[in-house]
């Protein structure tokens, strides 16, 4: 619980680590949505999620450590 709060605090201070982590999660989720066989709606939104993650990753790589 305390670790989660610390992570959120670092997220609010625009530190690279947590934002890169968030971007990686988005990219991973996007790839999973693209390839899953269960719901066409998830497949439809997969590209938006991956693109958001990728753009966020590029932006986060310019944040301070």
């Amino acid at each position: 619980m305390r670790r989660g709060a610390a992570w959120l605090a670092r997220l609010a201070r625009f530190r690279r680590g947590p934002w890169e982590m968030l971007a990686s999660i988005l990219i991973g989720a996007g790839v999973l949505m693209l390839m899953q066989p269960f719901a066409l709606a998830l497949y439809t939104w997969s590209f938006v999620v991956t693109l958001a993650g990728t753009v966020l990753f590029i932006a986060a790589s310019h944040f301070p450590e």
């Binding site: 890169e20 971007a23 990686s24 990219i27 991973g28 996007g30 790839v31 693209l34 390839m35 899953q36 066989p37 066409l40 497949y43 439809t44 939104w45 997969s46 590209f47 991956t50 693109l51 993650g53 990728t54 990753f57 590029i58």
Partner: protein
């Protein structure tokens, strides 16, 4: 030695035409550095960046490369919308997912096991390493061709080996012609070819673990099983992550091996995303549509590559 270098430099300076020498002499170090880098940057822009920007532009149009004189209309996001609601493309993504999941799972398991065995330091381990890494040195076209022979129902060694183990008739099943077996046939070939690569990465990870950690664990009377789970696995995990990402990116783009083996068939059960893309672009000639398709695949691979670079940096920092 210094005299020799000075003489060589003098000789090079004398060989430079006076007009060029006069022009270069006035340049700063930074300008000369740019002069050297400029051809590479120009090539990079011409070969990579320009086609990428052009593809993104085409993805918003209905351009068809086989009808270059037809009027090109701006269609906005319609190509993306069609691709992301197309059931056939969704199926090819699922075929890609099946291929990705099983190749990575098998390669990691077998690759790690082989690396662990090779790391036990026995007589002739170097020779075995060389023999094991041979498949990944072959061309995918060659591998595809000889596995097509191995999978032949009448004369294929693979069918005979399976028949010998199971007792079934060798010509009673067709690895490349069966809808249920063909996806597994391509998984087997890719695993055979690329497991050595995963093994090499795992071996690097295993050999980077200091012996002193195992000695300390033995003093603490930790069992081999506990040493494996609390020392070996956590310390090799970043290397495994690297191998998974690398193989994931490579297999997401897989084309040559599968085209050689099945050509995407039977039906479209082994039609991976890249094969499907090639069909859209160069058989149906829907260039705008296939450009959007390529952009979707590019963003996915770019995203995965970003994570890969991050993981690589973490391994380097260790």
């Amino acid at each position: 030695m210094t005299d020799v270098i000075a003489t060589a430099a003098d000789r090079a300076a004398r060989a430079t035409p006076p007009s060029v020498a006069r022009r270069v002499r006035g340049l700063s170090d930074r300008a000369i550095a740019w002069l050297f880098v400029a051809p590479t940057i120009f090539l990079l822009l011409a070969i990579n960046i320009f086609p990428l920007i052009w593809t993104i532009r085409l993805s918003f149009t209905n351009f068809a490369a086989n009808r270059p004189n037809r009027e090109v209309d701006w269609v906005g996001l319609r190509n993306y919308e069609r691709i992301l609601t197309d059931g056939d493309i969704w199926l090819s993504m699922q075929a890609t997912a099946h291929f990705l999941f099983w190749t990575i799972a098998l390669q990691v398991l077998i690759g790690f096991a082989l690396a662990w065995l090779i790391n036990q330091k026995f007589r002739g381990d170097d020779l075995w390493t060389t023999i094991i890494v041979l498949p990944m040195m072959l061309s995918p076209a060659v591998v595809g061709n000889f596995w097509t022979f191995l999978y032949q129902p009448q004369i294929g060694l693979f069918n005979y080996a399976v028949a010998w183990v199971t007792g079934a008739d060798p010509s009673s099943f067709e690895m490349l012609g069966s809808v249920t077996l063909a996806p597994w046939a391509i998984v087997i070939v890719d695993t055979w070819m690329w497991t050595p690569f995963v093994m090499l990465i795992c071996l690097a990870g295993l050999r980077s673990i200091p012996e002193s950690i195992y000695e300390a664990a033995e003093i603490d009377r930790a069992s081999p099983w506990r040493q494996f789970w609390t020392i070996t696995v956590p310390m090799v995990a970043p290397f495994l992550m690297l191998a998974v990402l690398f193989r994931g990116i490579e297999n997401f783009k897989m084309f040559d091996l599968v085209v050689q083996l099945t050509g995407g068939g039977p039906g479209s059960v082994t039609e991976l995303a890249s094969i499907n893309l090639k069909r859209e672009a160069f058989e149906k000639w829907r260039t705008g549509y296939s450009s959007a398709y390529a952009v979707i695949l590019f963003v996915t691979i770019f995203g995965l590559a970003s994570i890969y670079v991050k993981a690589l940096n973490r391994v380097k920092a260790r």
